[in-house]
Every structure is written in structure tokens, then in C-alpha cells.
């Protein structure tokens, strides 16, 4: 069963320089209990997708078309009050750098209870505290943390507490947006382990967003590669790593160093990602595409086509690779 279906989602930000189309024709599904990865470079629209799902994008951002079907309901046109029901108790999110978003003068436990009071006004403080302690146990925090202030915790502990906060209202889907980016490798490894454990114990669905293709390899069942607001390749993680069909995916894989296996010469991709400010039609990857030739239709937008079971790739590029 699909917990989330995103269909042809478009989102753009209005700026003084013109409209920035941050999310273009993005479609994907997340099954119950599945973990789905979004990978791409900074500015490719990963976080904009996450924000659109919860409709938390900045005020100048607007979903211009498309559907987001969560648990059988299209949530794009919901009112603010209806959205509040979905946020946190349906879909919750661990923001990028969220560990620095704790209020410094309120105890950790009280901040989590505050979110729970919003969604479960009938529960008592003791019930909420009991729930928080259960969650602390899952994410590997000691009970005493509940009465600590944020500055008393290390980065890793704060990030664990953020995960507990995201779990506090029993969501069905968690979006983790670069949850380990500011952390050390050893701490990152522990947090990744906690997230996996949480997912197993609670049977949650997960959308994992990262620029690090190695983390996506370890954390996800299915994945999508984003470039300049579009998904250029989508499919089972194992299949994409074994058999990348898009030249951008290939170059991401070839540019990632590893500590195991033979030491290989890494390949870089020349050029820079394009500006997302609305421009005429056409393939946005063309300037960096190693297969660009006269057969490219400059008018044609990217179109995904199925190349294997559940494996979709930008059609133009797939034919040439």
C-alpha cells in the first residue's frame, strides 16, 4: 500500500529576479514501511520537495500544480487547519540542522510536551512524559535528558532528541532532511543506526534526503536522483547503483570515494548546475551532458521512461548512455 503518492508536483518561488522553479514535474511513491531516498547536489530541489510535502515552504513559494496524496487524501488544497492535522501526526520532519533549532531556555522534555499538547490536548502530562521516555529509549537517550536544557547536550544527543520529537505524535511518515550533515562520522553512524531501528520498531515510512550517495546506499530501498528541480532517475536503490542509466547518476557514483575496494581514479563532472530561474524550454542537463549531440531537441523537456521494473530514467539521456 502506498502511504504517499506525489504526482507531477511543481513548486516555484517568486523572487525579484523572476520565478525560481525549484520543483519540476516530480513524481514518486512511498510504500508503507519503505525507505525512499532523494539525492542530489545543493540547490537541486531536495529540500523544496520536502517542504512542499508539508507545505512549509517559504511565503514566496507556491505549489503551482500536481497532487500529494497522503494516506488516500490529496493534501495540496487543504486549509491551514486541516494541514495542522497532517503535520506532525501524519507526516513529521527532521529538518536540516534541526539540532540547533531547540529553544535554549526551555527544557528538552517541555519542548516535546508542547508539540504533544497541540495534537493530543486530552492527554495528561504524565502520559506525555511516559511516551517521551519510551521514545528516548528507542533513540538511545537517558531518561535524565528530559530535564536538561539544549546547551547541556552534545550535537549527537540533540539530534537524537530531535528524532524523538519527530516521533512524538505517532507519524506514519518521517522526512529526514540531511539529519547527519553537521555530525562527525562516528556520531553519524550511530544516528543512522537509530533511524533504522526506529523504522523497524515502529514500522514507519521514511523519506531520506542527502547529498551523500553512500548514506543513501545504506539507508534506502528506493531512490530518486534530482538535478535542477527534476528527478532524472528513479528506481530501486540496488538497481540504480548496479546499473545507473543516467549520465548524471553515473557521474555522482564515479565521483564518490570509498574506503573499501580498490582505489580507483574518480571522475569529475565539468560545469555547474544551472540557475533555476524560469527560462525557455529544454533539457537542463544539456550543458554538462557528455552525450549532447545534434540529435538533442532543444525544445524538449526531460521525460521519464521506464527502463526496467520500477526503474525510470530521463528518456533522452537513457537512449544515449
Amino acid at each position: 500500500m502506498n502511504i504517499l503518492e506525489v504526482k507531477d508536483l511543481n513548486m516555484s518561488y517568486k523572487t525579484i529576479d523572476g520565478n525560481v522553479d525549484a520543483v519540476k514535474d516530480v513524481s514518486f511513491t512511498v510504500k508503507q514501511g519503505e525507505s525512499f531516498g532523494l539525492v542530489g547536489e545543493s540547490g537541486c530541489g531536495k529540500t523544496s520537495v520536502a517542504m512542499s510535502l508539508l507545505q512549509l515552504q517559504a511565503d514566496n513559494g507556491k505549489i503551482t500544480s500536481g497532487e500529494i496524496i497522503f494516506d488516500g487524501q490529496n493534501i495540496v488544497n487543504l486549509s491551514e487547519a486541516e494541514l495542522r492535522e497532517v503535520r506532525w501526526s501524519g507526516i513529521s520532519i527532521v529538518f536540516q540542522g534541526a539540532m540547533n533549532s531547540w529553544n535554549p531556555v526551555v527544557k528538552i522534555g517541555e519542548q516535546i510536551r508542547e508539540a504533544m499538547r497541540e495534537h493530543y490536548p486530552n492527554k495528561t502530562k504524565d502520559e506525555n512524559t511516559k511516551k517521551i521516555l519510551e521514545l528516548f529509549e528507542i533513540v538511545g537517550l537517558e531518561d535524565s535528558i528530559i530535564d536538561r536544557y539544549p546547551h547541556e547536550l552534545s550535537g549527537g544527543m540533540k539530534q537524537r532528541a530531535v528524532i524523538a520529537l519527530a516521533l512524538s505524535c505517532d507519524p506514519k511518515l518521517i522526512i529526514a532532511d540531511e539529519p547527519t550533515t553537521a555530525l562527525d562520522v562516528v556520531i553519524q553512524d550511530q544516528i543512522l543506526n537509530e533511524i533504522r531501528k526506529v523504522q523497524d520498531v515502529l514500522g514507519l515510512s521514511l523519506i531520506y534526503i542527502s547529498h551523500d550517495i553512500a548514506v543513501i546506499a545504506e539507508m534506502t530501498d528506493n531512490m530518486a536522483v534530482m538535478y535542477a528541480g527534476r528527478i532524472v532517475e528513479r528506481g530501486p536503490t540496488k538497481e540504480i547503483f548496479a546499473n545507473p542509466k543516467h549520465s548524471y547518476t553515473k557521474s555522482l557514483l564515479e565521483s564518490t570515494p570509498s574506503v573499501v575496494g580498490d582505489k580507483v581514479k574518480l571522475q569529475s563532472l565539468d560545469g555547474e548546475p544551472p540557475s533555476l530561474i524560469s527560462k525557455e524550454k529544454g533539457c537542463t542537463f544539456a550543458p554538462r551532458c557528455p552525450y549532447k549531440d545534434i540529435s538533442c531537441n532543444p525544445e524538449l523537456d526531460m521525460q521519464l521512461k521506464e527502463v526496467g521494473p520500477n526503474h525510470y530514467v530521463d528518456a533522452c539521456n537513457a537512449e544515449k548512455v
Partner: protein, 317 residues
């Protein structure tokens, strides 16, 4: 065995911290606590470890940005063909030494003066050290921009940092560093702020320059995979001490110290079919292994060139 460019012996950098606003109690933070390593000509050493372990403090002490509080740094003096302690350097000699040691910083967005154009940014070190006349200097800037791949140089010279991307800014940082023709460059996570597809081109540029210009690097990173790509040898740091140092492939395939094992096994592998096994480590136990405080922790050589800090090699093997 090739000649050493740099020898570091028991380098120490302690910071005095006061106990509080009205307290007279002072305590000492041993940010770098007696580390030793050699850097042979044209080779690069990776310094890895978690944040707060003293990597950047080591870098700043080596490039003389902060004075060390103990130990010795010896540098090859090409006039006398001998190793010379930097403590003996004064005046002109010290200035010359500073030319030979340069640093590339982590953040290309904050380490370039936003009000200067690229030409002036790269000219600055030449002006400070008073090298050549104005025409020579401008030619040198032109050449170095070509070397770091910012071509055609005349398009870049009048531009300001905000007009460049992160990768281009880091190329400017590298150009500014290399224009002094240093022998030794300390790189403090120079690619950690860059996107993957750009990161490799900067790393390749640095590797090529090292070969062409015979520069040695001390390459600081928290990412062992990057260190593997860049460095001949790797030193692992923990709590201000080097716990293990070896040739890169030897260290990765045959780690001995528990902390090294934990660090290596924490690194995600870009291959979904690879099953990574995590080495479990109790960090309080680690403190015991490393601490045994007061006395110096000897470095035991377990294989040629592979050293581990321990009192009890057999216990670790």
C-alpha cells in the same frame, strides 16, 4: 628513504581557560598534546579524527598562525641543506619561512575578502612579501590563474568573490596559496563545503599541482575516503594525540588501534549490496587506553612505518 621536508616532535598547544568570571582557578585544555610526525618531500599526510580532536589547532600551530606552547618544528633549510628549528628563525629568515608554508582554509565563502577583486586577492601575498615589480606580479597572477584552471584569466581578474561559485572560489584560494611557491601547504578541509561533482575536480587539481610543483600537503579531513584519495600516509588523531599512523592502504586494511577501527567502520559505503560491519567501541574504555595520563604514551612500530600509540601492543593485536 627520501629526505624530510618537515619534522614535528612532541608538538604541544595548551590553552589556559579560566574557571569563570570571578574565579581565579585556571585549568589547561591540552588541544594538541605531544604529537610527532615527519613529512618527506613531495608527500602528503592526512590528519583525520572527529571534530574537537585538535586537527585544526595542529594546522594553525604548524603554519605559525598561533604560537605553539611546546615541542619542536624542524623545517628543511635549502641554503644549509639541514633541518632547522623554526624557533631559531628571526626577521627576514622567519618571513622567508612563512612564504614556504601556506594554508588553504575550509570555507571559500568566508576566507576571501568580499570587497577585493580576484586579482587583488591573489596579488596581496606578493605585495606583502615584496616580490618582483608590479608587472612581474601581474604576470604571476595571470599564470597562476591558468594553472588552477580559471581560464581565460583576464575574465576572472576583475571579478569579485560573490560572482564566483564555491568551486571557483576554492580555486582562487589555491591560487593565492600557490603564488608564493610554497614547499608545504596545510589544507584544512578544503573540499568539505563543496558539492561532490565539484569536489573531485578540486582534489584532482591539488594532486596534479603537488606533482608538478613538488608541494607537500598536510591534509586535514574528517572523511577517511577523501584522505585515502589524497594522501600517502594517514595519521589518526583522538583527544589531542596521534593514536595511529601508517601508509594509507596499510591503515585502512589493517587498522590496529580500537579508535581507528571504529572510525573506519563508521564510514558509509557507496554500494547498497555491501554489508558494513560496525566495530563496537566503548568510549570510556578508550579513554583508559589513551589516558594512562601523566606518562608519555609510546608509539609502537607494528610493521615498517605503521605506528600505534599504546603501552601494550600485544593486547591490541
Amino acid at each position: 628513504m627520501s629526505k624530510n621536508l618537515l619534522e614535528v616532535k612532541n608538538l604541544e598547544k595548551y590553552f589556559e581557560v579560566s574557571g569563570g568570571l570571578f574565579s581565579r582557578n585556571k585549568s589547561t585544555v591540552k588541544a594538541v598534546d605531544g604529537i610527532s610526525f615527519d613529512i618527506p618531500f613531495g608527500s602528503s599526510l592526512g590528519l583525520v579524527g572527529q571534530s574537537g580532536c585538535g586537527k585544526t589547532t595542529t594546522a594553525r600551530a604548524l603554519s605559525l598562525l598561533d604560537p605553539k606552547t611546546g615541542g619542536n618544528i624542524n623545517f628543511y633549510n635549502d641554503e644549509t641543506s639541514n633541518m632547522q628549528s623554526i624557533d631559531e628563525l628571526e626577521g627576514e629568515e622567519l618571513k622567508k619561512f612563512r612564504r614556504n608554508i601556506q594554508m588553504i582554509f575550509q570555507d571559500p565563502y568566508e576566507s576571501l575578502n568580499p570587497r577585493w577583486n580576484i586579482k587583488d586577492i591573489i596579488l596581496e601575498p606578493l605585495n606583502i612579501h615584496n616580490i618582483g615589480n608590479l608587472k612581474d606580479r601581474e604576470e604571476a597572477v595571470y599564470e597562476i590563474l591558468k594553472t588552477v584552471g580559471l581560464t581565460p584569466p583576464e575574465n576572472y581578474m576583475p571579478r569579485y568573490p560573490h560572482e564566483l561559485s564555491g568551486g571557483q572560489r576554492q580555486r582562487v584560494s589555491i591560487a593565492r596559496t600557490l603564488i608564493m611557491k610554497p614547499k608545504f601547504v596545510v589544507c584544512d578541509e578544503p573540499t568539505s563545503m563543496l558539492d561532490v561533482s565539484i569536489r573531485i575536480s578540486i582534489m584532482d587539481l591539488m594532486l596534479n599541482l603537488a606533482k608538478d610543483l613538488e608541494v607537500s600537503y598536510l591534509y586535514i579531513t574528517h572523511d577517511l575516503a577523501v584522505a585515502r584519495y589524497m594522501c600517502d600516509r594517514i595519521a589518526v588523531m583522538f583527544n589531542g594525540k596521534i593514536v595511529e599512523i601508517a601508509e594509507t592502504e596499510e591503515l585502512l586494511s589493517n587498522p590496529i588501534h580500537p579508535y581507528t577501527k571504529r572510525l573506519i567502520s563508521s564510514i558509509p559505503i557507496p554500494d547498497p549490496s555491501y554489508k558494513r560491519e560496525r566495530y563496537e567501541l566503548d568510549f570510556s574504555e578508550l579513554d583508559n587506553i589513551i589516558a594512562n595520563n601523566s606518562d608519555e604514551l609510546p608509539m609502537a612500530e607494528v610493521k615498517s612505518g605503521h605506528f600505534v600509540a599504546t603501552h601494550d601492543v600485544k593486547g591490541l593485536l
